[in-house]
Symmetry: C2
Subunit: 220 residues, 2 copies
């Protein structure tokens, strides 16, 4: 019984995710879905992307998923992009229908990029794709270098892997080679980015990646 | 249908949690359940507790919950306590029946303290109590000072609140007063500990708390 219900939930989520993807493809919008632990720095990365991509003339909207509070949407709007806050009210991940409802309420005229921040959680969001072109997993240096081994599904299914807060490497016992070795054992195809929102390391490279994927989507 | 199934799951978990609590009370064992984000430092705190409490002549066992890997159980055994690793194989939290099965497989002769590390997740474990006398929520400085506001249930329901990695305060923009204000708005009764497993700050105070709660349990 429990399994059957779960299958139905996953099945209807997959349908909603496909519908989101079709919508984005039809309108030439590139969608990215960031997942990671609470405090891994997802919002900080989005703030940097919003500033840098806006500077390059890109138009974007941000969908923020949290159990509670609109802290993140306010941070994103201060960085310069319109944001839509979803409060899941307890649910541990976004599902595709929540994103579809957010899309209906946003003004999407001229928008090229949709950035989605999932609920802070390295486990549950893995089972609920949202239809985004890229699922980006964000790990951060203070979490420790064994995270790929302990949360393998998140890393195995990722389309992009980010190691964030690299500015803290001098202060912590974190073996970056070990982290990336473990990540590669699970996923050798996902592009990898070392990021620091404090020093700006990797932000330009990440924006170049987004720009080039947007070009492929719209001209490819 | 989905709600009903969920209620059944929660109901059977509550029964198993009560049974765990009765078992521990009957045998004079104090049980602690640590929950927190991936990388918040739950295992490091347990390593410190194991060393310090063993030094005080206490006997304990540690139950480690992870989606995958036995990294944490190996760390605990190196610190000096027998550990039992539960791999949930995808599940985002421990449930009480998993803990009951672990208890059956551990040699509990003379054991006074059961330490349980839940799966790294600030959301899902809140709904599944394990029967422990104290649910301890662990937040860490690099996660940011707004975590109580964003994950309110974890803080509201906690019996003890730990702020870990205080040694990183000089390197990060983290307002400890703001963090504790938010935590107190949700929960004014839970004892609070500032901990650093690097400098040892707060470890003695936490062990004193455990010792005194154990004395209350066994001597009434």
């Amino acid at each position: 019984m429990r399994v059957e219900v779960m299958k139905n939930v996953l099945g209807s989520n997959a349908t909603a995710a496909e519908s989101n993807r079709s919508f984005w493809n039809q309108h030439g919008m590139l969608a990215l879905d960031l997942m990671g632990s609470p405090g891994s720095g997802k919002t900080s990365i989005l703030e940097q992307l919003v500033r840098e991509l806006t500077g390059r003339g890109r138009s974007m909207r941000v969908i923020e998923g949290d159990v509670a509070s609109d802290n993140d949407a306010r941070r994103i709007e201060a960085a310069g992009a319109e944001a839509f806050q979803i409060n899941t009210g307890g649910a541990c991940h976004l599902h595709a229908a929540m994103v579809a409802r957010a899309l209906q309420q946003l003004d999407l005229a001229g928008v090229e990029i949709i950035l989605i921040e999932n609920v802070g959680n390295l486990v549950c969001p893995t089972a609920f794709k949202l239809g985004a072109h890229f699922r980006i997993v964000v790990a951060s240096v203070p979490e420790g270098d064994d995270k790929p081994e302990k949360y393998p599904v998140a890393f195995r299914d990722a389309d992009v892997i980010i190691l964030n807060k690299t500015d803290l490497l001098p202060h912590l016992a974190f073996d970056a080679d070990h982290f990336w070795d473990l990540a590669e054992q699970l996923n050798s195809s996902a592009p990898q980015f070392n990021i620091s929102c404090t020093t700006g390391e990797g932000i330009e490279a990440l924006c170049n990646f987004v720009d080039s994927e947007l070009a492929k989507l719209t001209h490819g």
